[in-house]
């Protein structure tokens, strides 16, 4: 660093430390005023991670006269939401800032949950995997449901949101995950025959994703979920057989396709657990061969394939 840079850094350090000291002194003296509020804003603009200062800022709000008047509180906190929108670009992963946003929404006399939903949808359009964004979305949805006349409509709407996300990019793990959380309540409010329809649609969605990109883990993981929510082991075995058939079709196109091979051995392992007598000797041999093959084409996870070979081999009493 040259002298000019050093001088600039020294100035930055001095300014930041002075501001920090000012805020901490006001806090220690329990000063709850518009001036101290303003000081916290200047500091938080510099550093969104100062959770002690966010705490102090909230305490100041609650001590101001405006807090006692619903309209004034509404206006004050709406400004706070805008303030956070301004600084969120600096650090979109700030736990403290998201927490403060939750507090602000929860303290508003008239929170606009639908507008927040729109905002977070925009965020997720830019960054579909944003952990805080999805957590925040769930918080808003829970608030919407608390005031909704028809909570199922909210669930259906969220379910549709995940469909939209998956159709845009079937590699969106967060969307599949959220879908897995919504599916049980979607099913619970359907008749028996409608439930079958929903599950068939899920099956089609997964198959579509698998054929689009067989190497992507997401749809395969979600298939495990579909297995979980089946009502009987017979249904599970049927799905596993469908999975094996689909894999065999994919392998005809590319016999060294890694993920389908991994899923194949997983499917057999699961069948072994549920209905061991339904696996033919040829299939057992094929499975053990595949495990050997996987040790070569996916060597990082060779430990897993060795363990599976040993366990299944022992159960099938074939030589490995």
């Amino acid at each position: 660093m040259d002298d000019a840079e050093k001088a600039q850094t020294r100035q930055q350090v001095e300014r930041y430390c002075a501001l920090n000291q000012q805020v901490m002194e006001l806090k220690a003296a329990s000063v709850f005023s518009t001036e101290s509020l303003s000081a916290t804003k200047r500091l938080l603009e510099q550093n969104t991670e100062l959770h002690t200062v966010w705490n102090y800022r909230r305490t100041i709000f609650m001590h101001l006269d405006a807090w006692q008047n619903a309209d004034e509180r509404q206006q004050m906190l709406e400004q706070e939401l805008n303030f956070m929108l301004e600084i969120i670009q600096k650090n979109i992963k700030s736990y403290w800032m998201w927490g403060h946003r939750v507090w602000t929404l929860s303290s508003l006399p008239r929170p606009e949950w639908k507008r927040e939903l729109g905002l977070v949808a925009k965020l997720l359009a830019l960054d579909a995997r944003n952990y805080h964004g999805w957590n925040y979305r769930r918080f808003i949805v829970s608030q919407l449901k608390a005031v909704a006349a028809d909570t199922h409509a909210v669930d259906e709407s969220e379910f549709a949101f995940t469909t939209e996300q998956i159709n845009r990019d079937c590699a969106n793990h967060a969307a599949w995950h959220n879908r897995s959380k919504l599916l049980p309540s979607i099913l619970a409010h359907k008749s028996e025959s409608d439930q079958q329809q929903v599950l068939q649609t899920e099956n089609d969605l997964i198959m579509n994703a698998i054929y689009t990109d067989p190497e992507d883990q997401n749809a395969w993981l979600y298939y495990d979920w579909l297995l979980d929510i089946q009502k009987s082991d017979d249904d599970r075995c049927r799905l596993l057989r469908n999975k094996i058939t689909a894999i065999q079709e994919l392998l005809e196109l590319d016999e060294d396709s890694k993920r389908p091979l991994i899923e194949l051995v997983s499917a057999y392992a699961e069948l072994q657990r549920l209905a061991p007598d339904t696996i033919s000797d040829i299939e057992k041999a094929d499975c053990l061969d595949t495990l050997c093959k996987l040790k070569n084409i996916d060597p990082f996870r060779a430990g897993r394939y060795s363990d599976m070979s040993r366990t299944l081999g022992q159960q099938w009493a074939l030589s490995v």
Partner: protein, 326 residues
């Protein structure tokens, strides 16, 4: 870039020692709020490298004690508000420095217990953010202090189980996507509660093994980038599940070593980036778990040296791991 195959112990020790001397850097002041955690990360790294005497014990204890507030909790720095994150780091530091007798255990316990609500969920501080990290931390702190009976275990267990997902992993709370860091905190929590039997070991082991990318590094969830810190979150989880051999350990070690800063010491999140004490800690912790030579063993639940944990009588969780997992 030169091929780094050795752990640059002396460089890392110098890096950690130098952290408190960077008052002319803005970054030093901007991270003041988590200084206590920074000390914890540095101390773990030093312990694993068998260089724990590199920092002044008395000075550290004196500083940590000043970070305790009237409510019994600890802030990340002097006069900073109490939070479970920094209370955890403070208690871990005092344990490693063999100085737990310098604090009033009941006072700290009261602070932690006050953060559990009637539904069993645990907040990080009085402002109410809930996260499975805090469920784990509350149990861990009280276990270290010997007061774990004062928490509602059933409530915490339920919260953790409600955070389990279809892929076997755990999220930050009910509905949260599986994330390796949350997997670690939930597994560690279940380990301390003696409830590891509730885990879907096969699914979770698969999910964790899939975190390893072609460059040998580990990511935190599907399609994300590798990061040295996942060497800890993922590997400690696999260690608890007794499945560390489900990833390629040598390649992981190579990846971590490449992320070292040869000049200034320290380890970065990935090769070529700037080093920081957080990644230095978890990189070295990952190396230890992966069996890299010359390092102390680390307890995968407490993220502290095994010898410290055993001496303090805290290794009981090991005896409650399901027998079939051994």
């Amino acid at each position: 870039m030169s091929e780094k195959t050795a752990l640059l112990v002396d460089k890392h020790v110098e890096f950690i020692k130098s952290l408190d001397k960077k008052q002319d850097e803005l970054e030093y002041w901007m991270t003041e709020h988590l200084r206590v955690s920074g000390i914890y990360w540095g101390l773990v790294a030093l312990h694993l490298m068998r260089r724990q005497d590199a920092l002044d014990r008395d000075k550290l204890i004196s500083y940590i004690l000043k970070c305790q507030n009237a409510d019994g909790g600890f802030g990340g720095h002097i006069n900073h508000d109490s939070h479970l994150l920094y209370t955890m780091s403070a208690v871990q530091i005092l344990l490693m420095l063999n100085a737990l007798d310098q604090i009033d255990s009941q006072k700290v316990t009261r602070f932690v217990v006050s953060l559990q609500d009637k539904n069993g969920q645990v907040s990080g501080d009085e402002w109410g953010e809930r996260d499975t990290r805090f469920a784990f931390i509350s149990v861990a702190i009280l276990t270290i202090l010997g007061t774990e009976d004062q928490l509602d275990h059933q409530g915490i267990l339920q919260y953790v189980l409600d955070s389990m997902n279809y892929d076997g992993g755990f999220g930050s709370g009910p509905g949260g996507e599986s994330h390796a860091a949350q997997v670690y905190t939930c597994l560690a929590c279940l380990a301390l509660l003696g409830e590891l039997g509730r885990v879907n070991r096969e699914r979770l082991s698969n999910w964790l093994a899939e975190r390893q990318l072609d460059n040998g590094g580990l990511n935190g969830r599907p399609q994300k980038l590798e990061d040295v810190c996942y060497s800890w979150w993922v590997l400690s989880s696999l260690e608890i599940l007794n499945r560390v051999h489900w990833i390629e350990r040598e390649k992981l070690c190579e990846f971590i070593l490449k992320a070292q800063d040869e000049e200034k010491g320290g380890i970065a999140d990935r090769p070529g980036d700037m080093a920081d004490v957080y990644h230095t800690c978890f990189g070295i912790a990952g190396l230890s778990l992966a069996g890299f030579g010359g390092l102390e063993d680390i307890d995968p639940v407490f993220c502290m040296p095994k010898n410290v944990i055993e001496q303090a009588g805290l290794a009981k969780w090991v005896t409650r791991v399901p027998k079939e997992w051994k």
